[in-house]
Assembly symmetry: D2
Homo-oligomer: 429 residues x 4
Amino acid sequence: MNQLTEYRREFHKYPENGWREFRTSARVAEILTGMGYDVAMGPDVIEPGSVGEPERLSEEQIRQEMERAVRQGADPAFVKRTQGWPGVMAVLDTGREGPVSAMRFEMDCLPYDEPQRPGYRPCDEGYLSCNPQSVHACGHDGHTAIGLGIAAELMKRKGELKGKIKLFFQPAEETFYGAQSIVDKGHLDDVMNFIAVHIALSAENKPLPSHTVACGCRDFLSDRQLDVYLEGKAAHPCGASQEGKNALLAACSAALNIHSIAPHEEGLCRVNVGEIHAGVCANTIAPDAMMRIEYRGQKPAISEYAGQRIFDILEGTAKAYDLKYHYVDYGEVPAGASDYAMMEVVQRAAKKVPWFQTVYFEGNVGGTDDAAVMLTKVQQNGGIGSYVGIGADTTGPVHNPEFDFDEDCLQAAMELCVYALEELHGTDA
Amino acid sequence: MNQLTEYRREFHKYPENGWREFRTSARVAEILTGMGYDVAMGPDVIEPGSVGEPERLSEEQIRQEMERAVRQGADPAFVKRTQGWPGVMAVLDTGREGPVSAMRFEMDCLPYDEPQRPGYRPCDEGYLSCNPQSVHACGHDGHTAIGLGIAAELMKRKGELKGKIKLFFQPAEETFYGAQSIVDKGHLDDVMNFIAVHIALSAENKPLPSHTVACGCRDFLSDRQLDVYLEGKAAHPCGASQEGKNALLAACSAALNIHSIAPHEEGLCRVNVGEIHAGVCANTIAPDAMMRIEYRGQKPAISEYAGQRIFDILEGTAKAYDLKYHYVDYGEVPAGASDYAMMEVVQRAAKKVPWFQTVYFEGNVGGTDDAAVMLTKVQQNGGIGSYVGIGADTTGPVHNPEFDFDEDCLQAAMELCVYALEELHGTDA
Amino acid sequence: MNQLTEYRREFHKYPENGWREFRTSARVAEILTGMGYDVAMGPDVIEPGSVGEPERLSEEQIRQEMERAVRQGADPAFVKRTQGWPGVMAVLDTGREGPVSAMRFEMDCLPYDEPQRPGYRPCDEGYLSCNPQSVHACGHDGHTAIGLGIAAELMKRKGELKGKIKLFFQPAEETFYGAQSIVDKGHLDDVMNFIAVHIALSAENKPLPSHTVACGCRDFLSDRQLDVYLEGKAAHPCGASQEGKNALLAACSAALNIHSIAPHEEGLCRVNVGEIHAGVCANTIAPDAMMRIEYRGQKPAISEYAGQRIFDILEGTAKAYDLKYHYVDYGEVPAGASDYAMMEVVQRAAKKVPWFQTVYFEGNVGGTDDAAVMLTKVQQNGGIGSYVGIGADTTGPVHNPEFDFDEDCLQAAMELCVYALEELHGTDA
Amino acid sequence: MNQLTEYRREFHKYPENGWREFRTSARVAEILTGMGYDVAMGPDVIEPGSVGEPERLSEEQIRQEMERAVRQGADPAFVKRTQGWPGVMAVLDTGREGPVSAMRFEMDCLPYDEPQRPGYRPCDEGYLSCNPQSVHACGHDGHTAIGLGIAAELMKRKGELKGKIKLFFQPAEETFYGAQSIVDKGHLDDVMNFIAVHIALSAENKPLPSHTVACGCRDFLSDRQLDVYLEGKAAHPCGASQEGKNALLAACSAALNIHSIAPHEEGLCRVNVGEIHAGVCANTIAPDAMMRIEYRGQKPAISEYAGQRIFDILEGTAKAYDLKYHYVDYGEVPAGASDYAMMEVVQRAAKKVPWFQTVYFEGNVGGTDDAAVMLTKVQQNGGIGSYVGIGADTTGPVHNPEFDFDEDCLQAAMELCVYALEELHGTDA
């Protein structure tokens, strides 16, 4: 088994949800240090003040997660260096005048249980998730491994390169503040080239299989999340039920209406009521309900449309059921688009990697990634960037708990990135 | 403040949900022991084997609850005597030949948070619930106080009475197995007279205010509860969303359809989806949902109708969303009816209590109470019983978290029961 | 076949919906005239100005219905005498001082198609409905026959009776203005005794079978009907669908929420969305929807509760879908209750009819009848009345299109009414 | 006002729904005849046997519509020539060897009422629809005018052209069998070039304003329509309501669930419940409901997905409400895509028309058009075709009843088509 696959399986086995990536951060930092990098960690990488209230952990949770990381094999010294905030940055400073580039690798997992069934490779080959409600179903285990591979290769080539290359191992991509907290720290202020990779995207609206690559995507959706709290009134279902205000039924009605929001002709529009938690027991009309909602649009006008419709429905449902409601707004990850100039750099690099038999110039995100926050920042600097889709055969779609992929893509992705960075930072470039 | 009000407020302050009534049990046992009763506790009162799986606590939970009870002032010796099972029985054995009667007093609370607002008497006068998700919103604090009052009065009159009177301080009325576990222990096998009281029922379908009483109710509804688990399939809402199987929407649709079940012409039929918990995070199509459902009917045919409709809806919804489902059945508390003969005993007693200005012969439960389990058992023995409604002005309907009541009713209820028991057990009766 | 059965089957064969009862009116008037009554018809019976806009027919519709009546065998002279308004009144004026009583018999049918299947008696024995969307599924064919039987018997006994007896053959009971239009004409102003009968009611919430009778009902529900018009905006479902305002989905959501309105603890509460008509074609987001809603309550507070909830839902749904709405209010038929005094008169009469083996003192309407309008009027006069349930085995519940009944009940009902009127009007009473 | 605008306004004033286009057909035939064409009409243009049952008119309806056409100014001789089937074909046969091309112009309108409000140009300038439930809200009035303009220009140039050009004035585009019935007649068998135009499409997912054109679209959606009939059981809402089977609620639940069907990652997927008609009156639980459903997909797999989900929902809803259902399938208009080769022809033509300031190579249908039936046929012949979007400022989106457009586009569209046909049929081509 090659090194990247080994790394990936280790991270797969110990998945950590957003802002809990202490074991992963410590391992990444330990490995990078071993390569000769002088890593930054925790509050030196991310800006804690940028992390929104809804996703902050309590002191106690942080303490428990750090202890768990150590129990699961992390070096206590590196865990301690996080100061309670995951995130690692390694900078290859060639010492030579030249451009500043950045790459981003996510480390967080998704909050599902991984299935345990024979025939599913992580089960058969012993790298199933050890953590409940935690699974790498979005390929971030692979991304982290690719990042370590790139770091190793760059270090070998340091003498032939100019400028600086910043490698970010980012927490909390699946939530809202991972990339933002790094941007807010100022680390992207001088960056003019940006690349991120993602395993298993699409091109021409079909999943990218093994041996394919898409050099950039231009269809990022924005993403906004809300936790909506409906406040009704409890009553006994056989007593004065007429005095109840049924928050559970209100949530159900709102959810169906929200999922029935009409599409938008100008581009993709997606809404999802991802969670409902309503009621207190069987024999009481539910006095409260929480709905976790997200909506996305390919353009600001679409996102506004979806938001307007959702709030009309919430307002109307509250009226229909005589309820009050309030909500927590998680903020918005913006839409975005790769630059053709950088997609061409990637295209040239891809053609040098034999594993890629089919090179699509443009692919589809078909969703959201907070890489768009960094990409947009770099574009504001006058720079360029691309979000690259690495084809891989998989056992299920992204965000399905049973998501495993062809690990050969790791090496290929690493090679592609190294070639692209060589073009951007070569001393004869 | 009189003794019963003091007791009631103490119990109100330390409410405990079903099978967690360790502090209440210990205090009740301590007080009864102080009166001269030789109390039975825990497995000597209830049959642990009868308690259904869904409402059993883990060993660890029991340990924690017992510790909490001690922290909240319970005598550790009595807590220990529970052996992890709440419930207290005190028997007044007159030593004289005579009938065996039983009374039942519930001790459990409801799983809401009690509101903390000035103007609400428990808040103003310092007896607000100390326990989260726990509030006496069904008057059981008062019932327990009434039971202690009766115990005291009976002990004073022991010399003038014949036969035996069993006083049950029952756990877990709001769930399913409290009364059943006492019946299964055999304690009702020799009982020929049964009385239970409830604060704040109705008569002529209007709440009973202070200074009124209803001598019996004949409209108990059956009650059946199900926890239904819908199993769908996660997917990314912007990715292969067509592969998702949305258990959240299925639950929402089922809940609306269940609440739309048509009434039944033969009597009351009530359905409630009391809880829904669905989904894992905002950006995933919800792969699972749990629905907590109850349904009730005034006759077996009505209950069967409701059950049939609910399962048709679950089956159909599973089909519509291509889901699987399974469920946990909590069992059924039966319907039931007081006996006119015992209602007449209560009527005579009520007329001796000056506080009761209006005496309704028949009142309405309009719901379910597992007193029906004991009542039915006694009727099977050839005995008679009644479920008595004690009028009281209240600050909200039963099962509303802000439920406080006119405490003068406690003394009146106690007097009524003592008069009734005197008629049944008087040496010249 | 006896005369009443013959009458009933004739009316069954030619059913007519509200305000279209021209054939029935003409036949009733013809038969009554043949008995020696001097009948009043049309605007002499009902007050046309009282008939609400929503249920008025156009001149053209009236003309067509009158022509149809003649085609279906009505005497053109009597059809003409209706002047376009159905309704017949016959008064037995004994010429002797005495009380004034009234009885009411409905003539209208329901707007369903009658099933044509072998084994269904109207089909096998040749009295199936000849009119589309018209069927006597509420027993009014029988009521009219009973009224004719009573008229015949009273005429025979005219010499032994005192006072006046008014027999009303009423149109449009199933809609809103039948009884009201007669009351508004002033015909009930001097009436002190009122009786109406209905085949196939209930007692103890079970259908009354053959050989039973319930002497009065006290549980009339009020009934209010609304036609609600939702005004959205059309759009192409694949074009600018985001600009559509989907009135069809709004109506669907509102209907589910309306049917989910919680019961009321003080008595029966019933809501029904009886019709929805929405949209213009398959490939357009529906710009409009009409909902026909009714709600009923056993008490004014219940009716108000249901109305409040319905309008909250309409208002909220309009907000959720950004629609406007308006509605036509058909008015309200009130709740009501029979008088014990008249129920006792009926009880004595019932005991004289051998066919009635079981005589329930009180029965259940479990619904609405605009007999309550007349009953209430008589009660306001200081008089008394009763609404009597005539037991009959049936082939389906009331308002099911396949509703046939044991015709022996007709004779028994007629006898009961005659006995009751004899008690009220006997010269030695 | 130029000739094309005059034509368009005349057609706008007398809109006719599918298979009722007798006035339009007659006028088109009259005008073409005046130009020197020898037109074919009715069954010589379309194959009557191909017209599916659901959209056929009765003999009586056809007779009435033909009479109406005459009343509205159509020449009775041409109306008679339709033989009850709308549709006109004019062929420019140059007599010279050469390619066979075809163009298609739709004549039918949409079943809405046109708003009458000052400020809306058709109202202010006197060309509002005279026919109820009929409005040209999809630009077909303009398409027909463009077709007449092209016919006139081609006739002038006949001497400079070679081959044959078939101009189809097609009925029933908004329903299902218009284009199919022409293809089935064999008229496309020898056609190698196909062009159709549509006013007011989009490019880059934004509406095309005046002075723009899109040379072809490749995103036709398939379209399938179903009329679904749910069969429940009537019951009185206050009587034996438990025996009812509520088809109205079932339809409502199904509609919400159908509109909640998740998107498909491989392309556009659209569902619409366009109509619901349920129930018989207010006071009966609705025994039946009809739902008019359409669904579309950009690829066969998407259409299959939508169909599968819809039938799962229908099946599940029928189970949930214990109903039966059946449906009428209107068939499917296929998806399709313009050919780049023909788009290039159109692009060259567009650049010659000064009114077009912006020429998009590719535009969006974002929906369905049965031009795809003809286009696909021509492609099967080995030919090429394009579906061209003509930009125009409008007062509302397509399929909104208030849809008026910048009539200057008519002349520009006509010029574009003539230039394209000159390229294809020029004697020096």
